[in-house]
Amino acid sequence: MDNQEQVEPVSDLDNFFHLSFDAISRDQLKQIAMWAKICSITGLLGYLIQLYEWLFGHSRLASNFGGGILGIVFNLLFIGGGGVINYFLYRFAAAVSRGVQNTDALHVNHGFNSLRLYFRTAGILAIIIICILFIGFLVGFLGALANS
């Protein structure tokens, strides 16, 4: 028939894990994308406000991190890192919602790549923060030992 839609057969690599995005998972993905979009937009707005406060106002954040080069590095790490993370989250949300709307698995699978980058960047930032806290604790402890 002429009006019948013709589609490519599913190859082994396309269904390598034997998992499909059925009606339930499509609904979950739709809601995940919606909430991830809310998270990313509010997060980006928050970091923009903090950037504005840091550059033009009396930022509580800047005073918490102290002045000087160390303060600038911490601010850049905090605001820049947060901005990058939320950008990846927005990309994930946009790709997944487009994929679910168009029933296009390619977009959903691309979205998972952005989710991977989101979690990886957040994980690397967490490692950096843990290292900084550990060094700060060590310096404080050694300083207290030297004073006593």
Partner: protein
């Protein structure tokens, strides 16, 4: 035959997790597991320090009036709820990583869907918390202390 009719094979219209998508999801799951464990440990540590330090900090302010005591109680409850929600999100993220990995290993659609449900609730909690944080930030911008 290179092509097939959708009417003959309705499963062809289904969206599948392909090889690349599955592998990137696997890596995402690994990092999310790390993040959730760090999150649970970090927030737990912060809560413990807060619980130990609060009486000393409050003593430092001297005698409190009944009004200020009430405000401090409300603030402490709000903080405890905030951190409690963060811990719940971290636990759900850990559940997402465990269930999604298990679903992919066992090729089990039901477990995979449960993993996605955990991710949905995680983002729901984080979305509500980030909205509240943004409101707090805007409030502090309008009424600076």
């Amino acid at each position: 035959m290179d092509t097939a009719n959708v009417q003959d094979n309705p499963e062809l219209l289904e969206m599948h997790l392909d090889y690349d998508g599955g592998n990137t999801l696997r890596e995402a799951v690994r990092w999310s597991k790390f993040l959730s464990i760090v999150g649970i440990a970090g927030i737990g540590l912060l809560l413990a320090v807060g619980l130990i330090a609060t009486p000393y900090v409050l003593n430092g302010y001297g005698q409190l009036t009944p009004d200020s005591e009430g405000i401090i109680d409300v603030l402490l409850i709000a903080l405890a709820l905030y951190f409690g929600a963060l811990i719940a999100a971290a636990i759900l993220l850990l559940r997402f990583s465990r269930l999604t990995k298990k679903g992919m290993d066992h090729e089990d659609q039901h477990i995979f869907n449960r993993g996605l449900k955990s991710l949905r609730i995680t983002f729901m909690i984080l979305g509500i918390l980030s909205c509240l944080s943004l409101l707090g930030l805007l409030f502090s911008l309008i009424y600076p202390m």
